[in-house]
């Protein structure tokens, strides 16, 4: 019985840690994607959250070479969107409204 609480705490910590690893988040703040690049395992779901008071997009590819894999619109502060990456590879992305904003997801 005395092990129940510590084990529960460990379980909570483990699952919390796994959740972080499996569901990385990218903040969009001060016209930057952070962190970037982000390394994830195949199957990971990456979530972007806009913290700026302006619309940003998360658009796959580069401004001159869009891949069309995803094009998320995050209209304002608190807006959040996710993409699941099932295949290994390097996925650059940018904001279509502020094209100097660049990020990258690396899927292992």
């Amino acid at each position: 019985m005395r092990y129940v609480v510590p084990l529960a705490a460990v379980a909570v910590w483990l699952f919390a840690d796994l959740a972080t690893a499996d569901a990385p988040t990218v903040a969009i703040q001060l016209f930057q994607f952070a962190p970037s690049p982000v390394a994830v395992e195949a199957g990971a779901r990456v979530t972007w959250t806009n913290r700026d008071d302006i619309e940003h997009t998360v658009t796959a590819g580069e401004p001159d070479r869009r891949t069309g894999r995803f094009d998320l619109r995050l209209p304002g502060p608190g807006a959040s969107e996710s993409v699941t990456f099932t295949e290994r590879g390097v996925y650059p992305y940018f904001c279509d409204r502020h094209r100097s904003m660049r990020g990258e997801i690396r899927v292992n």
Partner: protein
């Protein structure tokens, strides 16, 4: 009130400049015992405010020099002014970076350069008498004010987006007046307008400095 504020800033800038000269030219700086009390003009906060005012006013004068040369067809002068204007842009971004870090500096520079691109578009519209191009450039500039406001609000919650956007909108309007006067070859109107546009930058620089000091009181204490 604006006139008094501008004069105060000019005096502060002169005092800072004089202090710098006496310190660097042959070691003539006064010792603390002989130096008269100069108080607030030498604080970090005063330096920040004077520095931002200098950078933003320089931005207007160099922009006006570039657009004036472009509209008069003085190509070499335009290129030199544009290069100086870009050096000013790098310095403005550096000032942002000195407070908010390298990432913010890198994000800010292209955002700032973007509005200069729109000003170039407007100038080309005036030069070619293309009303549509002028209108598109003005719309782009007005849209840009929202981006600029959002950036500063994100950096500093003491700078509400709407307030910043309005101040930058007035910058757009005053600089537009400069370009319009240059386009009509009216030098008196152009130079009157450029002084007004430069004076307006204090309305951006002062609250920006104040908000930064409020956000980081320990860094600007004393």
């Amino acid at each position: 009130m604006r006139g008094i504020g501008a004069k105060s800033m000019a005096v502060a800038a002169v005092v800072v400049a004089i202090s710098a000269c006496t310190t660097t030219n042959g070691g003539t700086a006064s010792s603390p015992s002989t130096m008269p009390a100069m108080g607030t003009s030498q604080t970090k906060a005063a330096g920040l405010r004077a520095g931002l005012n200098n950078l933003l006013r320089e931005h207007v004068y160099l922009a006006g020099a570039a657009t004036g040369a472009a509209l008069a067809g003085r190509d070499a002068e335009f290129k030199a002014a544009a290069a100086a204007l870009d050096a000013n842009s790098v310095a403005v971004a550096g000032a942002i970076g000195s407070v908010y870090g390298a990432g913010a500096e890198q994000a800010f520079l292209p955002l700032w350069r973007r509005h200069i691109g729109f000003v170039v578009d407007y100038t080309v519209g005036v030069a070619t008498n293309d009303r549509g191009k002028q209108d598109r450039a003005v719309n782009d500039l007005i849209g840009y004010t929202q981006d600029f406001g959002a950036f500063l609000q994100s950096a500093n919650p003491n700078l509400p987006k709407a307030v910043v956007a309005d101040l930058v909108k007035h910058h757009v309007v005053t600089l537009k007046a400069v370009i319009d006067a240059q386009g009509t070859k009216d030098p008196v109107k152009a130079f009157t307008a450029i002084r007004a546009a430069a004076e307006h930058m204090q309305m951006i620089a002062d609250p920006l400095a104040e908000a930064i000091v409020k956000q980081f009181p320990d860094r600007f204490r004393g």
